[in-house]
Symmetry: C2
Subunit: 350 residues, 2 copies
């Protein structure tokens, strides 16, 4: 009497195949055949079983099924993101979800927050639930521990960044070329003194974007001034402060390349505050939300986020289905989207 549920209903057990079998007067094997549409069951038994299942509101227990089945598939994958709430991560998530749904697969998502420990912890939690595969935005400098998961039959595809110390499938953007195109664009608009604000230099994409910056300057015969290259700006606030310091200098740059979305936001904020947003050019890496409400429109190098997510997911499912080939490395191009902030002319504009 004291055990009543919130609605005053004693929670009954979920019905099992046994219950359906009992009600329809067949063996549980026959119920299994009907529930799984295996065929080879006489029409009237199919009818009786379905009727009983409906009456009892029977729902197959996929975990039990997967435990017994030869392939052991749970029809579940794990997705390790930087942070599910970040727009880049959540767009990736959606792309993965859409492919997964076509395969009847559900997605566990988790936020790693650039913490290698959490990457390991989440991976362990996913493995404990026997996901069929993992899609991972890797953090830190060692993904070698994924090798044993792969050997045990759990497939892994990395996305956005290649894994470190491990040869595995990955799908990434061409960060070097993307950054180079962005910086070239500033040079083409008459800038030669171009500041660089970037993310944590432990992140491979941050290093590649810096390399693209270096290449574009070298092509144009511009020497790199390390004093206007500011890496390791983790947050928008960090980036904002960095740009403020840059603007305070006598030899302040006439243009800025920002290598990541949060960094771009901070930089644009600093420029607005300094009322320099119409005089100093900015090109950023990564798309930003509500760009058409920002004036000047931010010129950005944008990634094909949907392409990253869906390519990674398609590759993962091919692996799950037995596709056997050496590790695949897919590199997708980034695109410069011109909106205004990158076309503010510099002192060498022609």
């Amino acid at each position: 009497v004291s055990e009543q549920g919130a609605s005053g209903v004693v929670p009954r057990q979920r019905p099992t195949m046994r219950d359906v079998a009992a009600l329809s007067g067949v063996s549980i094997k026959t119920v299994s055949r009907v529930v799984n549409n295996e065929g080879g069951v006489s029409p009237d038994l199919v009818e009786r079983v379905n009727e009983a299942a409906r009456k009892l509101d029977y729902q197959r227990n996929l975990s039990a099924s997967s435990l017994r089945r030869g392939d052991g598939r749970t029809e579940t994958i794990g997705l390790l993101l930087e942070n599910v709430a970040n727009p880049f991560s959540s767009a990736l998530h959606r792309a993965v979800e859409d492919v997964a749904r076509d395969h009847g697969v559900l997605v566990f998502a988790g936020s790693v927050d650039e913490d290698p420990w959490r990457e390991r912890g989440l991976t362990g939690a996913f493995i404990a639930r026997r996901v069929d595969g993992l899609i991972v935005v890797p953090t830190g400098s060692d993904q070698s521990y994924f090798a044993k998961e792969r050997e045990s039959g759990t497939h892994v595809v990395f996305v956005d960044r290649p894994p470190a110390l491990l040869d595995a499938d990955y799908v990434v953007t061409d960060n070097v070329a993307g950054a180079r195109v962005g910086v070239r664009h500033l040079i083409a608009h008459g800038h030669r003194r171009i500041g660089y604000i970037g993310d944590l230099s432990t992140i491979s994409t941050a290093r590649e974007r810096l390399a693209g910056y270096h290449e574009a300057l070298a092509e144009a015969g511009i020497a790199v001034d390390p004093s206007i290259v500011m890496q390791d700006q983790r947050t928008s606030d960090d980036a904002e402060a960095a740009v403020e310091r840059l603007l305070a200098r006598d030899d302040a740059p006439t243009a800025i390349f920002t290598a990541q979305n949060l960094v771009t936001i901070g930089a644009l904020r600093a420029l607005r505050r300094a009322k320099a947003h119409r005089s100093i050019a900015v090109v950023g890496f990564d798309e930003l939300p509500v760009v058409d409400l920002i004036d000047p429109g931010p010129t950005l190098v944008v990634q094909d986020v949907v392409g990253l997510g869906s390519t990674a997911a398609e590759l993962l499912f091919r692996r799950v289905q037995g596709y056997d080939a050496p590790p695949q490395h897919v590199v997708l191009p980034a695109t410069l989207v011109v909106r205004g902030s990158g076309e503010i002319p510099g002192p060498f504009a022609t």
Copy 2:
């Protein structure tokens, strides 16, 4: 030979407790005790089992464990969102994830896209995997089918919107009061002709926000003009077009209340295009990204998204742990954040 994996390694089976037991020379029951930290095992056996588990890289199979255990918990919950990629949904997701992590629970997320069929489909998929509970942003006009899940022991907490045709736990924002405060703010700044642009009227929050608009006008003795109340604007583009039509009128409103984030974005876009963003006041419901890059800053009625998500998750876990009480209804306040767009004075400003 033709069955080799991508890395040239034949995928071996994951080790089980049997393997660990065999290697350490104990029974699987003893392995189970050690793995689950049950205690009552002699120190040297604990040592031997742990050594063997480490050597084999043993990972407990939580599904098998949950199948056998009395409580049947999978330490997994399902989260049904409007769209994982939408900022409101993904912020909710993060808040839920953070609470779930404290409980050692993993989160399945799915996008419903305002499609009642997908709500049912995802719910079924979650149930098939025997999640311990569900957190649901309900869509459509009938959530009564969740009653049987609850009876079967799967707990459900609704968030953002109350369920229809079902008495259940929910956590929502006070939408009526929030909209009222927003519209009052416009009235206080001298506006009496205030347009309303809203989301799908099938969504309960949209109806409530419209009610708040009506109440605020009524308080001020302003009659509602239905011709400037535009509901059912699903996308930013719809809202943009609606505002354009409003602006084209001879008796165009001097202020606009936008009842949802996508709607606000569309409205702000239309105003910028018409160069009316400094003359027509706007207050919107829901937070927007990068607000400090938008000029004038958008004055918005913001929800406590983290509060919604974490309160819902806390309530769900209390239910999972046996908390037995009538359905709880939690209503969180919304807050007006003043940034500029809502303070543009109207013709009756004093």
